[in-house]
């Protein structure tokens, strides 16, 4: 029985040593090169005494970064991916939470490490440690002792209290996910994928593990191309990309600008999408452009290792109708639970709760938050069985398919990113001259709108906010108000703010 994700790499490197695993526009790494580099890095970490602890990988998006991930896993550590474009403030927060002893950097990010006052560990340079010779004895001993509930990675997701939460996942849950995902997407060694998601989110596992398990090739798409639709499709055609797993906003950016009148991504056969509702008008443009392609809606939270449900589009939908999230992957069950922890009647809404091996280990270093959402299955009083409460509200339609309806809190999905509006508010409230702040999300226009009161100037406020929040969390519109509208109970009136934003009467 497979116990370790690295067995995927070891099997694939035997079959396709010289095939390209991960590439960008200027270079590529074969499976052999990925294997060699990661075994070297693993050995180096072990010799330096790092084991069973977080190793931060802070590099620019590059195939080397992926090899560094597996390097950390080879040493029995778990990798924590960070992005060169993350604001320093957020990185400091993560360092404080994680207290890592080692960080792997590239030439560019190495310089930036000096800025992080909360880090006093060792900085390792990829180029130096990836070339050292591997020690098979040392690596073998670590593997022998490893068990499949050991963590592989920690990825950080937005937290409503202002501090990002680190979700830790283990070999077992990732293997469970990868087996089912690659089956649903029909990944093979002939698959060529273009990655869109940042490497610091679990969303990128779809491509990384398609390569690792099946011998597929993954191209890292330059971020800037997602601004320029024709160039983006040219990129897909140049590398004969046949499979993409992208957020909906990346797909609609192409279709809404009428790119298909000029150029078609002619090799695409599998289009998986998720994280957001796909507007049917845009979906139809894709379907018309690629009548023979499979379109698959994916749904799942980071806390349950990537994706939990899928639906392959097999019929037409009316405009405004949601595309279902379908049914769970094998070995995963979705429970719907109402406020009284009972199963709602068919067609009635309930909270989407997930049961199965795919559940992650919870939030790193935070039992309290973990216990709030990873709870005993209320339908099972007999033995320990954890379920994850997603906070998403869903229902089953008359066909028995799951449909996502809404959130029960202030978490939103914006351009594919999961954001707690509360986290933005905490950052605004911290600024000088701000008396109160409230963020609302205008779904129609896909805009995060911030309202605040106080003497702070909008311009200065935006500048300081950009220093502390990741780009995708920055409010798209900012308005200063004389007074914050309140409800009868004295809470901020979000409904009124939303109306103000939509009518532009401010």
């Amino acid at each position: 029985m497979q116990r370790n994700i690295l067995e995927y790499l070891e099997e694939t490197v035997r079959k396709y040593p010289d095939k390209t695993a991960f590439a960008n526009e200027s270079m590529g790494m074969t499976f052999q090169e990925v294997s060699d580099a990661s075994r070297s890095i693993g050995t180096c970490l072990l010799k330096k005494g790092y084991q069973k602890e977080p190793v931060v990988i802070y590099m620019k998006k590059h195939p080397h970064m992926i090899a560094a991930f597996w390097g950390a896993v080879y040493s029995g550590c778990f990798y924590v991916p960070m992005d060169e474009e993350m604001p320093a403030f957020r990185i400091d927060l993560i360092f404080r939470n994680l207290k890592p002893r080692a960080v792997i950097c590239d030439e560019t990010t190495c310089e930036q490490m000096k800025e992080f006052r909360d880090f006093d560990g060792e900085v390792l340079l990829y180029d130096e440690i990836a070339g050292e010779s591997a020690d098979p004895g040392l690596l073998g001993a670590v593997r022998e002792a490893a068990i499949d509930t050991d963590p592989i990675y920690i990825v950080f997701t937005s937290g409503s209290t202002g501090v990002p939460k680190g979700v830790a996942a283990c070999h077992r849950s990732v293997i469970d996910y990868v087996e089912n995902l690659t089956e649903v997407l029909q990944i093979s060694e002939k698959s060529v994928l273009a990655n869109q998601a940042p490497l610091y989110f679990d969303a990128c596992l779809k491509e990384l593990f398609s390569s690792l398990k099946c011998g597929a090739t993954t191209y890292l798409t330059p971020r800037s191309l997602f601004m320029f639709p024709v160039k983006l499709v040219e990129f897909l055609n140049e590398y004969k990309i046949n499979t993409v797993c992208w957020v909906v906003s990346a797909l609609t950016m192409i279709s809404s600008t009428k790119t298909f009148d000029k150029i078609i991504p002619k090799y695409l056969r599998t289009v998986a999408f998720g994280s957001e509702v796909f507007p049917i008008r845009q979906f139809r443009l894709w379907k018309e452009a690629l009548p023979d392609a499979r379109f698959i809606n994916l749904y799942g939270p980071t806390e349950a290792t990537g994706m939990s449900c899928y639906y392959e589009v097999d019929r037409d939908f009316e405009e405004g109708e949601p595309i279902p999230i379908g049914r769970p992957f094998k070995n995963t069950e979705i429970l719907l639970l109402d406020e009284n922890n009972r199963v709602p009647r068919p067609g009635d809404p309930g909270e989407i709760c997930i049961r199965g091996t795919a559940l992650t280990l919870g939030y790193y270093g935070d039992h309290e938050k973990t216990d709030e959402v990873f709870v005993q299955n209320p339908l099972n009083p007999y033995y320990h069985e954890r379920i994850y409460r997603t906070g998403d509200i869903g229902m089953r339609n008359e066909r028995g398919e799951l449909v996502f309806l809404s959130r029960k809190d202030h978490q939103i999905k914006h351009m594919g990113h999961r954001i707690e509006l509360g986290e933005i508010e905490v950052h605004v409230n911290r600024l000088k001259g701000v008396r109160s702040a409230c963020c609302i999300y205008d779904k129609e226009k896909e805009k995060i709108t911030l309202f605040y009161t106080g003497d702070a100037q909008t311009k200065e406020l935006v500048v300081s906010l950009r220093k502390t929040l990741p780009r995708y969390m920055a409010p798209n519109l900012v308005y200063a108000l004389e007074e914050m509208p309140l409800t009868a109970n004295g809470k901020i009136d979000r409904v009124k703010l939303l109306n103000m934003a939509q009518s532009k009467k401010i």
Binding site: F226, M227, M253, T257, K262, M415, Y472, N476
Partner: protein, 75 residues
């Protein structure tokens, strides 16, 4: 030009759009912004920017963007 500057300044109050000439290359605007800019130009000027014109050169400065709008209005 006034209206365009207003659209841009709403997105990035911290940027001086009258002088910046590396909005794309300097990573000042990103894909979120491009989508917003295109849709607001459509609302404001009733001009649809075709896909082949969505290229870095046309988005690097307010001036370049304005020239694109004028060109599309004439067509």
């Amino acid at each position: 030009m006034e209206a365009l500057l207003k659209i841009l300044t709403n997105l990035h109050p911290e940027v001086d759009f009258e002088t910046s000439t590396d909005l794309v290359d300097g990573k000042i605007i990103d894909s979120f912004d491009i989508v917003s800019i295109i849709s607001e130009i459509n609302d404001e000027y009733d001009v649809v920017i075709p896909a082949e014109e969505i290229v870095p050169d046309n988005f690097n400065s307010a001036q370049a963007l304005y020239e694109l709008i004028v060109r599309l209005e004439d067509e």
